[in-house]
Amino acid sequence: MEDEKIPGNIREKIKKELRHGKILLTLNTDIKYDGSFGEEWLIVTDKNMLVFSGTGQVLHSVRLKEVKEVEIVDLVGSSALEVNMGKFIYRIILYSNAKNSEFYQAVEDIGNILKGREVATKGRLKPKAVCEICNQPIPEDLGKCPKCTDKTKTLLRIMSFAKPYSFTIVMIILVMAVGSLFGLVAPYLTKLIIDDILKPDAVVKRFTKSEWLFLASLALFLSYAAQQLFSGFFLERLSGSLGYKTVYDVRAAVYEKLQELSMSYFDKNQTGAILSRVNQDTGELQRFLVDFIPITLEGVIMFFGVGALLIFISWELTLYILIPIVPTVIFLKWIFPKVRTYFHRFYHKRAMLSVLVNDSVSGIRVIKAFGQEKVEIEKFKKRSGEYRDAGIEMNSQWGIYHPILHLFIIFGSVLVWYIGGDFILKNRMSVGDIVAYTGYLAMFYNPIRTLTRMVEMISNSLSAAERVFDIVDTEPEIKDTGLPKEVKELRGGIEFDNVSFGYNKYKPVIKRMTLEIKPNEMIGLVGRSGAGKSTMVNLICRLYDVNKGEIRIDGEEIKNIKLADLRSQIGIVLQETFLFNGTIYENIAYAKPGSTREEVIEASIAANAHEFILKKPDGYDTDVGERGNNLSGGEKQMVSIARAILRNPRVLILDEATSSVDVQTEKKIQDALEKLTKNRTTIAIAHRLSTLRNCNRLIVIKDGKIVEMGTHKELMAKKGLFSRLIIMQKEFSEQASKMKAV
């Protein structure tokens, strides 16, 4: 099949080994049998399954006839393929995470081969994309080769964001050119002052020498002033407005995309990483546009402008000047990586320190409850000390290199006086020439210094930009199909048809589940922690798409229903109650923008929240605090139930919605809910089984599969998992009441 990949020496050996038999599948792994890096080959023919070592030895050979099943066993950081031979299970080959998708597909294919079926060609996992340029596999969730994305492309991308402001850009370049021009005037004026006014034998016309001196000084001042006006005042304004406006657009694009992205994106990327992309990386982009680009442009203009003038004044002297410039550039190239290391360490320590402070402030309750203030202080002092030391080290390193660098530059000026002085003595140059020359020289060194550093800074900024565009370019996994079906009023029938799903698609959490919920039915989901109950609910809301099978609502595949229509008709109380920082009223009304106060109060009454809200001095205007922390756990749940009810949804989902409220309150909420659940589909999840007594049907989930289903009565009669759970909870509460009696 794909045997052209096999190295020649092994192919020979395989041929010898497999005189008869057609090769159906070949796959190489990246870990050897002893757990070290290296290659082994898995070959499946129509008769045998073999594993060859990288040198062509046969490590395992089993006959397909004897194989019952081939399975993947998850290890840590790697996985193993195990062959079940009925009596024994062999582990035949190991592979690292890098090979997950290939082996996942291979196991399916082998399963088909064992059953004598054709190897499926439909519904295969996409083979790993390979970059056209570097031939390396492209990581799955990136989509483009991170190695070969060209930096110039990113630069163009940034520029495309700056495009609406192209007039500003033109202005910036003009202003900069004019400003630099005025900068060039000053040294030339000093030359004129020295050579044509101050020289004893200078001849002046029209005005007296002191009058000329006044005029020249005035011109000198005006040229400086004009330079400041253009390079300072105008330039700062223009480049500032360009940078901030562009980055505003980029930030808006990033945030818009973040809201669109699917849950799986947020599972894969840590909140901190996303935050730093939105804040830090866009900030970096801003520095790039506001600071670096103008400085670089200015550097380029000065480099050529001043360079031309230096040659114009004296090309011979300029040749000498080049001598110290060469080692300066080399020196800069050499020290910057070194200095950078210290800078990096410094920034790193600073970041670590802020992580620590952030962590301890958000966990302050726990710290106080456990009396760990002293420990935290010590931790802080240690980190802070590392930060201090990194700062000291950075400064002292800079203290070594900076003076050396300065000496190089000073050496250039000294050279001018030495060589140039000789020219004066030989009457080939005037004193004014030399003064002007040193003035220009100082201007010349600046761009050299900045340009050497700019390359690196720009490259850093571009990396930041790339991370930002990464978000902008990510396609949400879940979005409407081309022609989504509009469903204004769901009936609320839900079907699971052979559904498999895993947060990591190689590790299913829901396994081949089939289920039908009728409209207006009230379903209770029961099962141990981690069984997959919340996951089922996530699938119904289409927060994730199934890996296999289909979910249908009212007979229509969920993927074809317009997302906005679907979600607007589902009301959910999440297992983890989350309230936004704001008032109780705002949090409830969040479910239905534009709802009236009456509606909010009605919903609160139905959720039994009204009672506790009455007791708050600020009533519905009570601030819930950060994440709702100013409310009790049960109060938070009641508010989120009210929030779900306000939506008046066709499908109501209650995931452990009353787990934190007292039994009395729960009873009240349930009675109130009973009226509400009559004419809508309801799915309730609860560990406290008494919560589910109103349900039409109960479904017991275990390990991602349905193990029992039926009414309370039927399940009790069945004497299965459910009845055991009921009996256990009963005994438990009886014990508890006995204890009270004692």
């Binding site: 870990i31 002893d34 757990g35 070290s36 890096f37 290296g38 290890l75 840590v76 950081g77 790697s78 193993a80 024994f88 062999y90 190991l94 690292s96 995470n97 890098a98 390396q136 596999p137 990581p139 990136l142 991170p146 190695k147 070969c148 994305t149 060209d150 930096k151 990327n269 840590q270 990483a273 730093s276 990586p337 950078r340 290391t341 990096h344 360490r345 920034y347 790193h348 970041a351 670590m352 990396s463 790339e466 991370r467 390990d703």
Partner: protein, 164 residues
């Protein structure tokens, strides 16, 4: 916590290379697996002996220190652990080259030489409080540096260059 007495237990390998454990109170278990309780911070102590039942593990007991086991038994357990926990330890860094958006690591690990690619230092390099570093490469493979202060100066310089 059931502790297994390293002097009284027996760990053997059967013909199929599977491990058999006989405990101090005379029970024998076949097809035993060993799990590290602290896979990132302690590879030598607190090893749990388990039997797999479907998707769950039943614990037989805990071996506190591997070094207390007789030599052969210690080796069996370490071999079993090495196959279960694939987190190569970086011993030395040949070079780190930075190209475009990624860093190419050329390293020596306890499992041989390896070249891998790191995309983003800030997101995929985790510094632990005990001076260890965990690096996740572009393929989601994890590599560990047990103590970065003990790396060779050259390796440290290479690493420092890219750490932000």
């Amino acid at each position: 916590m059931t502790l297994l007495d390293p002097k009284k237990i027996k760990i053997e390998k059967d013909q199929k290379n599977l491990l058999t454990l006989s405990t101090q109170n005379g029970k024998t278990y076949r097809k035993v697996n060993f799990l590290l309780l602290f896979p990132f911070t302690d590879l030598e102590n607190y090893v749990s002996a388990v039997i797999r039942k479907g998707s769950e593990y039943a614990e037989i007991g805990i071996i506190k220190h591997l070094k207390d086991l007789p030599k052969d038994m210690g080796r069996y357990v370490r071999e079993d652990l090495k196959l279960r926990y694939f987190v190569p330890e970086i011993r030395d860094i040949k070079s780190i080259t930075t190209r475009y958006w990624f860093h190419k690591f050329d390293v020596y690990t306890d499992r041989g030489e390896k070249i891998f690619y790191l995309r983003n230092v800030r997101e995929n390099v985790r510094f632990k409080a005990d001076s260890s570093i965990v690096i996740t490469d572009m393929e989601k493979c994890r590599y560990k540096i047990p103590n970065y202060t003990r790396l060779s100066p050259k390796a440290l310089a290479e690493l420092d260059r890219i750490l932000l």
